[in-house]
Symmetry: C2
Subunit: 321 residues, 2 copies
C-alpha cells in the first residue's frame, strides 16, 4: 500500500475536494458495475471553491520539480480517466493535513472512494515530509484499489527520498490472485502487457540497484514485474538524480500507469459471485497487513501517538478494517 | 522445479538404486502420515549391488570439486534424513542416464517417490552437461516436493554454470500457499526461521548480483527469501569462483537445506482434508507449469526430439500430470 512506505515510513497526501458531486452523474445500474470508459472525461479536476485539500496535496511543496511534475501528472491523469467514478474526499481536515507538535513533520492524505458499483474501491494519495537529524525525508505515493467486482490488479507508486541523492522507487500492479494457481491471470495482466520491459529499462541505469523491503509481506505481495529499486547518485549530484527521475522514472511510471488504466481500471474483467467472495477476503487481508506494517511504528514515531491514532483510525475506516 | 533450469535449460541426474527396499521398513499407519524423525537414519545410502544409477549421479563428473562436494553433501544428507521414507528409484535406465546422438550432451535423472502416506511426495535430482559452441553448460539440481498431507514448503537448489566464471544459483523453499492470504504461513516458515539472513549474507559478496528468470511464472513461484543470484568472477578467475562456491554458496545451501529438513520435511504441520484438496490443486498446477516451462523447448533443442519425448514423458508420469 501507499499510506506509509513499505519499509518503515509513511507518505500521505491531502484533502480531496468534492470534484465531482455524486448528483451530477447518472445513477449506475445496481446489478452490474458500469464499464469504465477509457476516454478522458470532459468533467474533471477541481471545479469548486472548497478544494483546498486537493490544492495542498497537489502542491507537493517539499520535493523538487521532477518529482512534483510526475505526481501531478499521475494524479491529473487519474482524475481525468476515473473522476466520474470517484466520490469526493470526505476525510476530516485534520487528517487531510496533519503535523507533529514541533512542526518538523507534515503529512497530507487524499482518499476518494469509488462510486458503487463501479470497479473502483478507492484511490489513495499522500505526501509526507519530515525533518530528521540525518536530513529531510520525503515520501510521495499514489495507489488505486479495485473492488471485488473485478479481479484486475491494483496500482501502486511510492517514492521515498531519504536525501536529494537517494531514492527508493516502488512501482507495481500488485496482483489480487495467487499467481501460481492462476497462470492465465499472470499471462493476461503481466505477460501480454509486457510490463517487464519497464523493469529492464530502469535496470540499465548504472545508479539503479534492486531494493529489498525489510517486510517479507510487502515483498511477496508485489508482482513478478514489480519495480523495486534504490537509486543513488554520487554525493552532491542532485542534478543527476533529478535527471534520472525526469528522463527515466517519470517516463516509465506514466507508461506503467497507462497499462493499469487501460487493462485494469478500464479493461478489468468482471468476476462471478464466488470469486468475489474470495477476492474480498484476500483484499481485506492485504489491506489489514499493509496497515499493520506501515502504520505500526512509523506514524507514532514521526508524528506522536495522538496524530498517529487519529490518522490510522480514519484509514482503517476507509479500508473497512 | 529442478528438472530443467528455470530459464531454458535442464539438469537431470541419474539412475537410483533400490537403496531402501520397501519391505525393510515397518508399514506406516494408513490413516495418518508418519511423523518423520529428525534424527539421521542408521539405514541409508547405497547398500545393494545394483546402484549404478545412483553412483553415476553422485559422481557429478563434469563439474569441479566445490560443486561436486556440495551436491554430494546435500544428497547424502537427504538420504540420511529421509531415506526410510523414500522408495527406490524406478526410472528406466535410458531415463536415468541419457545423451544426444552426437554425444555432446549428457544428462542424469534421479527420482525417488515418498512412501505413502509420508509427507514426502518425491525427491528429484539431476545433472546435465552440454558442449555448446560458447563452451560447456553444466546444470546440477536437487529438489524435494512434499505431499498435500502437509502444507510445508518444498526445497529447491539449482546451479547453472554457463562458464567456469559464471554461475546462476537458485536456492529456495518455494511456498505452497498464497502468502498474501496466509501471513501466518509466512511467519512460520520464512520469518521465524530467519531465512532472509542467508540471502543477505550472499548479497555482501561483490561478485553477486540479483538474477531474474526470464519466466515470470518461476519468479512468482519462489518465496520472498529466495536466493536468485548470478555470480560472475573476472575472466580466467576460476579459482575465485570456486572459492565463492566452497566458502559461501555451500555453507549457505547446507544451512538452508537444514532449515527445510528441520522445519518442513521433519517438522511440517499436517493439514485437514479441505486444505489437502486445495494444496493438491496448487501443487499440480505448479508442477504442470514448471514442466511446460522447463521442458518445452530446451530438452528437444539440447537432446533431440526422441530423447526429449522419452525423458519428459517419464517426468510427467512421476508428477502425475
Amino acid at each position: 500500500m501507499a499510506v506509509i512506505s513499505a519499509h518503515s515510513l509513511h507518505s500521505p497526501f491531502s484533502t480531496t475536494p468534492p470534484l465531482l458531486p455524486l448528483r451530477s452523474f447518472p445513477s449506475p445500474p445496481l446489478s452490474k458495475p458500469p464499464r469504465i470508459s477509457c476516454s478522458p472525461s470532459p468533467v474533471m479536476g477541481p471545479q469548486t471553491d472548497d478544494d483546498g485539500g486537493r490544492k495542498m496535496f497537489m502542491e507537493f511543496p517539499y520535493v523538487s520539480a521532477p518529482y512534483r511534475d510526475l505526481m501531478v501528472d499521475l494524479v491529473s491523469t487519474m482524475e481525468s480517466r476515473l473522476g466520474p467514478y470517484l466520490l469526493p474526499c470526505t476525510l476530516p481536515p485534520d487528517v487531510q493535513y496533519y503535523h507533529n507538535r514541533t512542526n518538523t513533520a507534515f503529512g497530507t492524505l487524499h482518499i476518494r472512494s469509488g462510486i458503487k458499483p463501479s470497479h473502483i474501491d478507492f484511490v489513495f494519495g499522500s505526501w509526507l515530509h519530515c525533518k530528521l537529524p540525518s536530513g529531510a525525508l520525503n515520501i510521495t505515493s499514489l495507489s488505486a484499489y479495485l473492488s471485488p467486482s473485478t479481479d484486475a490488479p491494483n496500482f501502486l507508486i511510492e517514492l521515498i527520498q531519504s536525501s536529494p541523492t537517494s531514492l527508493v522507487l516502488i512501482l507495481d500492479l500488485p496482483p489480487r490472485k495467487d499467481l501460481v494457481l492462476h497462470p492465465d491471470y499472470l499471462q493476461t495482466f503481466y505477460e501480454d502487457t509486457q510490463l517487464d520491459k519497464y523493469r529492464k529499462q530502469l535496470d540499465k541505469i548504472p545508479e539503479v540497484r534492486p531494493y529489498y523491503s525489510s517486510s517479507l509481506y510487502i515483498r511477496c505481495s508485489v508482482s513478478p514485474t514489480a519495480i523495486l529499486v534504490c537509486i543513488e547518485t554520487e554525493p552532491g549530484r542532485t542534478e543527476r538524480m533529478e535527471e534520472i527521475v525526469r528522463d527515466h522514472v517519470s517516463v516509465i511510471a506514466k507508461e506503467v500507469f497507462g497499462v493499469w488504466l487501460d487493462h485494469c481500471a478500464c479493461g478489468g474483467r468482471e468476476v462471478g459471485e464466488t470469486d468475489r467472495a474470495r477476492l474480498a477476503k484476500r483484499d481485506l487481508m492485504f489491506k489489514s497487513k499493509s496497515i499493520e506494517i506501515d502504520l505500526g511504528s512509523s506514524l507514532p514515531r514521526l508524528f506522536g501517538e495522538e496524530v498517529a491514532t487519529r490518522v490510522s483510525g480514519v484509514i482503517r475506516d476507509v479500508f473497512n478494517i
